[in-house]
Chain length 170, copies 2
DNA sequence: GCTGTTTATCTTGAAGTCAAGATAATTGAG
DNA sequence: CTCAATTATCTTGACTTCAAGATAAACAGC
């Protein structure tokens, strides 16, 4: 492979900094900028599929977390907002919306009166089961242009980066 | 290298889906989930440095875009919100805040009365010059645990992914 | 020149998010 | 048992964002 890759949006930014601040070694902006920009573009692509099910990204995230937990698809709010990296206040708000939509129900926890148990309703379970199928198909489609071997290498190096970033969060 | 990598948060999610929905090939969730999670964790790390300068992430983004453009550090709002992937309404709001902080000034465009020209003030220029130095140092620190060779491979594969994602956005 | 279309920006209203604090139940040390 | 510290959730208020529409200037074809 001898052909030079097309410059992307991050290459442009690096060239600008090189011209304006040649004293700086801005090279880490390459991988970091690309991770951030990939995440932003991926979000748009994923949202398209969620919209087909009348869901937003955060609604999918909460329902999927409950679904993944397995029967009886029941978790405490603390478990949910920890898994989703959001605050407790945001979780309260999300659960109110999801309860109003009829996709989750909240029950008192018999073992701890401070805590609630959030459970997928039948409608919520049916919805997330269908939505996750479409979501996975969509992800396959998004990555389809990448060869299996390249994808494996990409995944391996992303795991390395994630490992480096996660140690800090003990 | 024979030691198995520690499982990360994404491995856990993949294992849950494997158990709950063995009919799905959820493998694309590996790279896609890792990109998204890396971006979220990176955001936190970058915000720490911005906070040292009394800035938020979006304030840094706007000032840095003006700074990168070179003297006279002057761009139209349209150029700014296009570069930053945000809406025009959001840009209006950001510019009001930045003008109130004294970091940018808005002048009428002599060539087009519909459009404004947004310019870094002296204070804004001094701030972003210092902030970007700290930001680049911070990015070096974040990636320091990764060997130069590995980082180059990571960057190359991220560029490939970004290329695949950007073609869609023509 | 007119006039309809396009372009650039701003306004409005509805969401979603967080930080900080309030409330209430549980736990643990004595 | 009692009370201080901890834990789980919810409330409040401020901020950021977007989508949709309003306003005004510039342009293009006649």
């Amino acid at each position: 492979m001898e052909t030079k890759k097309q410059p992307d949006a991050v290459d442009d930014i690096l060239a600008q900094w090189k011209r304006e601040r040649p004293d700086l070694d801005a090279s880490p902006m390459g991988p970091i900028g690309r991770v951030r920009r990939c995440a932003a573009l991926l979000q748009r692509r994923l949202d398209e599929t969620f919209a087909e099910f009348g869901m937003t990204s955060w609604e999918f995230d909460v329902l999927a977390t409950l679904r993944r937990a397995g029967a009886p698809h029941c978790l405490a709010p603390t478990a949910l907002f920890s898994a989703l990296m959001i605050t407790s206040g945001t979780m309260t708000h999300r659960l109110q919306r999801l309860e109003a939509s009829g996709w989750v129900a909240r029950h008192p926890n018999p073992n701890d009166a401070r805590s609630m148990l959030v459970q997928l309703t039948d409608a919520g379970l049916a919805l997330i089961n269908r939505a996750v199928e479409a979501h996975v198909e969509n992800e396959h489609r998004i990555l389809a242009p990448i060869e299996a071997g390249d994808l494996a290498v990409l995944n391996e190096y992303l795991a390395m980066l994630l490992g480096v970033l996660e140690v800090r969060e003990e």
